[in-house]
């Protein structure tokens, strides 16, 4: 068991190191200089621009050689300092991420968990009811193949703009500021619903299809036939089938996380939702190396931790892994 985890942790650390290095390199490979863009946005007087250019380049440490910037990045990282933001001059990257993260988590966590639960349930149901299979399955196929961006636009147009049931954009009403009041909570929820629904629907489709296929496979398996021939009730057989079918789905969850996070990013942009996705867009548009690094780092760490949790959960849920571990 401990050897299993030691190996896993070593792999995760290596992945982390490589990912962080790529994370450092990618923003710097984009064409365009962040300081030029910054000053172009100022529309600065020509005599002032030169002065400002030198000042900003130096204050962001961009005048140092790349290897030194890389070391500075690691040093800062290990001390929990992600550096200053270029796009949002005056704010630190950690500050910005902390402000945006709650919005993204409020979308992501319920969307992932609820779609997983609902998708698996509905998929399992579809596997044994022909009528459900004929209706839910095609719908699920369409949903899972829908790009997040497109679904978001359709929902925004129909439910928000045409029918006016939900607001078009933002995280709360323009007349409010965040506060612990019912008014704000209500406004927050009504703004939250459409982006949540977008993420939920696409992911839901995927889980439903997967579960339906797995259940059909399990119900045809030898142990199911054997149980049935022993006269076990259908409910019992299905319960065993479900237990076995949920295992690959769990691995799927770990794999799907990256896609859902990416989906959340584009969905946020469509709905003007002030989470990490909107932040990443600003960061890219402004060549904000530090903010991009910080956000990617957050995503890397998030996905790695989620995978690690799934790894652990797998050991708990699947007895075969446990015996396998003991055997080795």
């Amino acid at each position: 068991m401990s050897r299993y985890f030691a190996r896993k942790i070593a792999i995760y650390l290596l992945t982390f190191f490589v990912a962080v290095t790529i994370d450092f390199a990618i923003p710097r490979l984009m064409p365009g200089d962040p300081i030029d863009g910054l000053i172009a946005r100022f529309q600065a007087d020509p005599t002032a621009s030169e002065e400002l250019h030198g000042y900003f380049t130096e204050s962001f440490g961009l005048d140092q050689p790349l290897w030194e910037q890389y070391l500075t990045f690691w040093r800062g990282l290990l001390q929990g300092d992600l550096g200053p933001s270029i796009a949002y001059i005056g704010s630190s990257v950690s500050e910005l991420i902390w402000a945006a993260l709650p919005y993204t988590l409020a979308l992501l966590v319920p969307a992932i968990v609820l779609s997983y639960i609902a998708g698996n349930r509905v998929g399992a149901l579809a596997a044994r009811r022909k009528s459900l299979d004929n209706t839910v399955l095609p719908a699920a196929y369409i949903l899972s193949a829908t790009p997040y961006m497109w679904l978001a636009l359709v929902l925004a147009y129909v439910l928000a703009f045409k029918l006016g049931w939900f607001p078009v954009s933002g995280a709360y009403d323009f007349s409010l500021q965040p506060a612990w009041t019912w008014e704000f909570v209500r406004s927050f929820l009504s703004h939250w619903f459409l982006p949540f629904l977008t993420l939920f629907l696409v992911a839901f489709g995927g889980w439903a299809i997967g579960m339906r296929n797995l259940i059909i496979y399990e119900l045809e398996a030898d142990y199911a036939n054997y149980l049935r021939s022993l006269g076990a009730p259908g409910r019992l057989v299905r319960r065993y089938a479900y237990g076995n079918a949920v295992l690959p789905q769990m691995t799927g969850l770990a794999l799907a996380l990256g896609a859902v996070v990416a989906g959340a990013l584009v969905t946020e942009i469509v709905f003007g939702y002030p989470g990490i996705g909107s932040l990443i867009l600003t960061a890219i548009q402004n060549r904000d190396y530090f903010l991009l690094q910080g956000i990617f780092l957050l995503i890397i760490v998030g996905v790695l931790i989620a995978n690690f949790i799934v790894d652990i959960a797998y050991v708990i849920v699947d007895p075969r892994t446990r015996t396998g571990l003991q055997g080795s």
């Binding site: 949002y88 005056g90 500021q177």
Partner: protein, 580 residues
């Protein structure tokens, strides 16, 4: 049973995390500190949009990318400038006159900062002296003649050595916001020139509004009306709205939907097709084409350091081959107007030598473009329908605009299509903003569209934009064409222009005409159309917006930076509540 219990556990966990996220969002994260628990009353709030694309981070009025409304609502200038009537209007100053080489400003009495302290001549002196700091936006005045500033009572005297740059000085009078010395003297030089000055308690201005909420957010910025604004006593001016909330733009589409749903009152976004909606609850400055006032000229900038764009005859043929009328009609639905061949704004027409324009200005003429190309040795030698360079090499010029600027993306498509008829091959491309800036500033581009210079009190700004010398490795805001082929004469004339008072009409006109001759014959840049001062309003909650048809309401309906200190503030003061 077991597995369902497990999912229930996971479900409960999810709910807990969601609640936790929500709690942290309200308690610490996003809304830190600014509790305004009640929704603003709709009828007392003016919602604006269209200016802010980045988050509301910059509260430094001396850095030109400041937050919406900062100058105008919070900080104020010595004068306002009315671009529609070409008039300077007293504001914090009651008068300003040249006495020899000195400019003497009399300050208004009874103006106070929103922290209760009186505004004095010393604040003006302090503000203008920040121009001495390295990196200041206003450093030019100190490098080109301004020697010292003295104060006596409520009189500020600016002392110049040599002939002052009158034209530039005029612009300073309505664009430099006066900041309070008692707050700002504690800031470091870097904070003043490049910082954010974002501390809430330090938003001390003389204007009609104070900071409400929204610093650093990327959703809204709220301004609260204050009591005791000096202009109420001085001019009987009163702002009818208790709150102004500016809405951050995520996309023009989202803004349009909010606008049509009555959530935005004054929108300064670009909404293609808005001309079809005018009438009823939606209004614009003119009720027919071009619907919008003009804000600046969109120029096609050639890189004059690269062949064949280095040849003025080729540039002229290029200009003649562009069907600008089609861009205006098909690209913009007639909400913009075709530019004068000098590129000068309609309000500057009194400075335009029309006879000269008639004689030398380029016109859309494909046949003429073709023969001009042929006469100068540009021929289609390989029969592909496009002309080649004089040495026989192929011409394929890249024309760029920033990705996402949809009207310009359409425009360069039309341009490339129309130059084809004359045999000039252009290939449109859409690098993103920063990549474009790098290409443009370093001189790697072929052709780029730019409209950085807004219309103001003087065409000098445009001449400076076209002709400023010397050309450096990086051209960050002027002379993107790197135009030097006509020698130093155009730039010498431009600096001469700067030193002529606008009241010296005869002399000014002569020099204007000389400079315009260079624009018309050398084409350092090709003026295409006047980009609109995009403004449309939804009259559901507020009415009495600016309009061309009523004399008292001819003001600039814009919240873009630099417009409230024109007559944008008058436009806001004129608004009336509807009964809703």
């Amino acid at each position: 049973m077991k597995s369902s219990r497990r999912t229930r556990v996971v479900g409960a966990f999810a709910v807990i995390v969601a609640i936790a996220a929500f709690a942290s969002l309200t308690a610490g994260g996003a809304g830190a500190g600014e509790q305004s628990p009640f929704a603003l009353p709709r009828g007392d709030t003016l919602y604006t949009s269209g200016k802010q694309w980045g988050p509301y981070t910059n509260f430094n009025p001396l850095r030109p990318d400041y937050n919406t409304g900062l100058v105008g609502l919070l900080y104020e200038t010595l004068f306002r400038y009315d671009p529609l009537k070409d008039k300077f209007l007293p504001w914090l100053a009651t008068s300003g006159t040249w006495q020899g080489k000195n400019f003497v400003v009399t300050m208004r009495k009874g103006v106070s900062w929103n922290d209760g302290k009186p505004m004095t001549a010393a604040d003006v002196k302090f503000t203008f002296e920040t121009g001495k700091l390295a990196g200041s936006q206003y450093s030019t005045m100190w490098k080109t003649g301004l020697k010292k500033i003295t104060t006596r009572g409520n009189v500020v005297t600016f002392h110049f050595g040599g002939v002052p740059n009158y034209q530039e000085w005029d612009s300073n009078m309505y664009s430099i916001p006066i900041v309070p010395r008692h707050v700002w003297s504690k800031y470091s030089a870097k904070e003043i020139t490049a910082g954010n000055t974002s501390q809430r308690s330090k938003q001390v201005g003389t204007g009609p509004f104070t900071y409400g909420a929204g610093a650093n957010s990327s959703q809204t910025l709220q301004w609260n009306r204050r009591n005791g604004w000096w202009a109420t006593k001085a001019f009987g001016m009163k702002l009818p709205m208790r709150y102004i909330v500016d809405i951050h733009n995520t996309s023009n589409t989202a803004s349009l939907q909010n606008f049509l749903q009555n959530k935005i009152d004054l929108s300064n976004n670009f909404f293609p097709g808005i001309e079809k909606q005018v009438g009823g609850k939606i209004g614009t400055y003119y009720t027919k084409a071009p619907f919008m006032l003009s804000a600046n000229t969109a120029w096609l900038i050639p890189n004059t350091k690269k062949a064949p764009l280095s040849d003025k005859n080729f540039r002229r043929a290029l200009a003649m081959s562009i069907n600008i009328a089609q861009i205006v009609k098909a690209g913009y639905g007639n909400i913009v107007a075709k530019a004068n061949p000098t590129g000068l704004a309609p309000q500057w027409s009194k400075w335009v030598d029309q006879a000269q324009v008639k004689k030398l200005g380029f016109k859309y003429n494909v046949a003429g473009a073709k023969s001009l190309l042929a006469a100068n040795g540009y021929r289609d030698t390989n029969g592909d329908g496009y002309v080649e360079n004089k040495d026989g090499s192929q011409i394929d010029l890249r024309i760029i605009v920033p990705n996402g600027w949809s009207d310009w993306m359409t425009a360069i498509g039309i341009i490339a299509n129309s130059t084809k008829a004359a045999g000039i091959k252009l290939t449109p491309a859409f690098p993103d903003f920063n990549a474009l800036v790098e290409e443009r500033n370093s001189g790697k581009f072929d052709l780029v569209i730019n409209n950085d210079k807004a219309f103001g009190s003087t065409p000098y700004v445009y001449y400076d934009y076209l002709f400023r010398l010397p050309v450096a490795d990086q051209q960050t805001s002027v002379n993107f064409s790197r135009f030097t082929s006509a020698g130093s004469r155009p730039w010498a004339l431009t600096t001469k222009m700067n030193k002529i008072k606008s009241t010296d009409v005869v002399r000014a006109k002569r020099v204007h005409s000389q400079i315009q001759r260079y624009i018309l014959t050398e084409l350092p840049a090709i003026p295409l159309w006047y980009n609109g001062m995009w403004a449309q309003w939804n009259k559901s909650y507020w009415t009495n917006f600016p309009t061309a048809s009523s004399k008292g309401l001819q003001n600039t309906p814009s919240t873009w930076n630099g417009y409230l200190n024109m007559t944008g503030i008058d436009a806001l003061a004129d608004l009336k509540k509807t009964s809703k």
